[in-house]
Symmetry: D2
Subunit: 358 residues, 4 copies
């Protein structure tokens, strides 16, 4: 008997279901003696032994469905060793569930935080296979994650819609795209949507530089400007602050997010009206795009292969278009940010996109 535990953790995104379908179809095509334990709401389900017994039928017909049939929650890595209100050590509780159910392995789908915990479980002796899930595409060791292209599609669609209204009204439009620490989604959606200015955490901006671009466009007969900004974009000044100082500054910020702050500054520096659009959680929602479905299916099938071969302790990754495995120990805790000198940034600058830093 092969006993597999499965959970999805962290912010949800598209193609989680597609990936799980890939794993289960892959395993069940080879073996009949399989038990699947679906843990509810991420690590929480593993901690409190909250699970359902699932069959391959439960994973049929979910390829196109957004969200996750298992539910998810954020369980910060930092708090994993902090006892809960009943004094329970969460890590020990997870190990206990795992051993009590006599599991052969855990399949864990998640992003950066999730991988840190997954690696800890591996260090504690559990058999773990992970799948690279995040709209941010910021996981080390893989050139792509599922969720990313779907999020780019939605953010691009938002910019497209704003484009028509922007040209009708001669305004500056700010679209705030998801991404607290990395700018991959903003960068791709910004290029795809024809943004004039793109601000990402990896390239601190200068508000004067932004104002100059806007005014330059006005002078050139282009009365509107489209600015795509990542949630975590940062000014050159703030980038000089210590991490703690900046965090305190953020907490005191009177605006809900960066877009509102930028809007005020731009209205001060230029004579333009500014409008804000925040697509927010829609970027995580809905049916995955074709690209993500193929990607998630492939890494899911690859995970099945590893499980059937009893090769544990890996994240399934994509490299040069081929699925592969990467040791969890090499991945956990590392962030893949946008390299300000990479070719896509260079190409974006070449066609006249400003990163607010000139």
């Amino acid at each position: 008997m092969l006993r597999i535990g499965m959970l999805t953790s962290g912010g949800d995104c598209q193609a989680l279901n597609a990936a799980m379908r890939g794993v289960v179809k892959g395993i069940c095509s080879k073996r009949d003696d399989v038990e699947i334990y679906g843990f509810k709401d991420g690590y929480k389900g593993l901690i409190y032994a909250d699970f359902s017994m699932l069959t391959s039928k439960d994973f049929s017909g979910i390829l196109t469905r957004g969200g996750t049939i298992l539910g998810t929650s954020r369980q910060p890595f930092k708090l994993m060793r902090v006892p809960d209100k009943d004094g329970l050590d969460k890590v020990e509780a997870m190990k206990h569930t795992y051993h009590k159910l006599n599991l052969n392995c855990l399949v864990i789908l998640g992003g950066n935080g999730t991988h840190k915990t997954a690696n800890m479980l591996r260090e504690e002796g559990l058999n773990v296979i992970t799948l690279p899930k995040t709209i941010d595409n910021d996981l080390w060791g893989t050139e792509m994650t599922f969720g990313f292209q779907s999020a780019v599609d939605i953010a691009t669609d938002t910019i497209d819609r704003i484009h028509t209204t922007a040209t009708s009204h001669s305004r500056v439009f700010i679209i705030e795209v998801m991404g607290h620490k990395v700018g991959h989604v903003t960068l791709h959606a910004g290029i795809a949507g024809g943004a004039d200015i793109i601000l990402i955490p990896e390239i601190p901006y200068d508000i004067k530089s932004i104002a100059k671009v806007i005014e330059g466009r006005s002078k050139a007969g282009k009365p509107f400007t489209i600015l795509a900004v990542a949630e975590g974009a940062i000014s050159k000044e703030d980038a000089k602050l210590k991490k703690k100082e900046y965090k305190e500054k953020l907490e005191k910020r009177k605006y809900p997010s960066i877009a509102y702050e930028l809007a005020e500054q731009i209205e001060k520096e230029t004579d333009k009206e500014v409008r804000i659009t925040v697509p927010g959680h829609t970027q995580r929602g809905g049916s995955p795009c074709a690209y993500d479905r193929v990607f998630a299916t492939r890494v899911g099938a690859k995970a099945a292969e590893l499980i059937l071969k009893e090769q544990y302790g890996y994240m399934v990754a994509m490299k040069n278009g081929e699925t592969t495995k990467v040791p969890l120990a090499d991945v956990a805790g590392k962030l893949k940010t946008v390299d300000p000198k990479c070719s896509i940034i260079k190409e974006a600058r070449m066609i006249g996109i400003s990163f607010g830093d000139e």
Copy 2:
């Protein structure tokens, strides 16, 4: 020679170009001796004689394009008789442009404010035909306006995407839909998107009632709630205030909009996390939906017919699926709100949708 002035005024929306194409194609299919004066950025172009000479070619290929090729701006009716900074009376200026160019008529596309000014121009002796443009569908005298169905489609798509993420996370999700004074878009998108609670200006809400619905759902095993709220939704308490008092209260509101206020209240009244999505100007942007293209083309062609017959002073309207004309005098200044007792509200309540007023 037939000399037609054309302008689009107020907030932009989908199918403005489709409607103008309908007018121009309709006229040019019958007459060769036509001059079209496209005024730039709404009434502003008429006031300051800022226009381009256009030909039927300029209106070819724009059926599917969002925005307006003429540009638009908001020119509040209240300020029309208030001299500008150079002391110019705007109404006299518009009349002057009209007569100087020897126009046969003006084709004006716009919503409520636009129609008040259009009617004033009619009273001043100008030949005017208007087309019912607004995402709000709040124009009196027509069962539909173009822009409405496209906005509903986009708001519905937003709710759809949020649905998958909501079910994954057990949260309350608030989607703020456009509509300061009327709730048509929110009502339709809310029903189409499967919202559990719909709040519109026409039906004041009670926060306790909302909390009860959310908790009732939790008890029934539905841990998430989707709430669609119109920008102009109002609580029962606030609905008792005098207009001026409420306006002052709004100005002091610490939040950018109603959704943020509701979120705070719901988090206070229940134990749920709340997330907010504001699709904002995307609701006005992008290619018009098929419904709006047909609608806009039809009213455009009807306007052409009226112009060819020299029948002026009308808004083109849709009644029982047929295009018709309505005297501008009967339309200007009237708002078509959602009747709280209409059949669609009754049907929505019947399938269990709450309007926060029970």
Copy 3:
């Protein structure tokens, strides 16, 4: 106890699930003592007592899902009294199932053929409520049917995509739209997609007239032509044939459908290359558009109201934007075709669309 049988019959379309959800949510919001019998694959399930017991939960979360959770099949009205291979009289079998299960009523969702059988069941003494389902919008007694607007959206999207490729290549493109007997979908999608020529069954065409339009466009510097044709479009010559003669001619036709025949004729009459696109069953598939979801929910809720009031023998209809009921006897067997003199045809001609009949 309220015992409701439900079935979906004929070609599937969008919003069948949304409509059934409306019925069930509407009834279950008022009564607890409800049993729902879901008959499988249309009348077949009623004939052979093939059904599942469903609860309100089965109808939750299906608002946006295409297809029908009950399955459907075509059971021609003509054959209803013809015994099956086991000698079973189908009508008597349906009555038997109804009475044996002690049903209070049947809710039947379908188009024209379905309504004939539903009316027969009513005449046989069964309590029947029907809902107007068809992409064709050809049901008498209602201004709209669900499925129609979704089909128009998809056909329009097809024309939109073809438009870009047509302009790049200077070709004639034929898009064959669903509609064997009526042209509503083709007419609306044709206008929405900016088709130059629209051919529908209600307005017989002349191939010479079509060729003239194509060549006229070429001379005017528009080297491509978009032609939207309904499956059942007919030439002026063929329209003169007796029904039986025409049927025989169709059977001998060497082409899979009208589009291929037209293509050959156009290539003969002009010097243009022709390309064909047949979106086919995609026009029935996928998630319903917002318009159809609202429409289906409303008529579903109205059906619930009628059932709770024990008012049977009606089709739920939409008139002037309000739900209403129409006696089944007035509806069954009547076809709502496109009136060649209606205002939308007039408006389409006005903007230069050809119906191939000039």
Copy 4:
């Protein structure tokens, strides 16, 4: 002065305009003294010196527009040295145009056939830079081409829509996807759409094997089957024929395409009804997806960089996510087919997809 000729050749696809915009924006951001000669309808424009002088403005706002603003046509490589009806040698004519206009280089966007001619022009001494345009993704030397992902998206959307109607009706549905010689689009769309059987030219099929899969599904309680087939899929028997024999057989085929032939065979081998959908040219049409826009913009900008550095004779390619250049001589005439043993095929088989060859 920098004089650049530009042309798009072969079947049109998405993102041609986006790519040209990238080239022109990239060059014009560095140099002011640029003349752009846009040749009309592919090589034809170069042969007959049919061109327009374009400015950077002509390439503004076309990022999202489908088709090509230059027009395109197919000019088979085989006929390039065959004199036209006026006795003109086409290659000499192209050289003549190039030299007469004193061009510095030609930017050529196209697929396989286009590249053969481009390489010949290079061999004749012209400065040539090419961009990899094709929905087929079959160009040697690059891991991706623009147009591919957009085509996959559309084909996937078609399969999605068919899925709902298939489940409602218990039928076999065949979706014929573009791809005469290679199966990349079919493979990706088939996986993304959840097809049960995928047939591509690279893996010859056996109709008995297909029938077995369909019947196996029936027995397992899955009454419908989705089959995605590439235009150029071939049976095991036919794959044994000599190329010429097979071509003759194809010409005698009574059906418009493979899907119709398969349908007949499946209806013979099983008891299932079969329905066919052929999305056809829609797969080339409409606005490019976000992925293609980013890709096309990047390779366009890279082409600009090469031109500014006067590095000619290359196709711009993508390798491991980075833009690069590949000698035209290495690319021309080579086809990148699907390797039947590649990991994506393996993964597809693993989750139970049949390629009709078992």
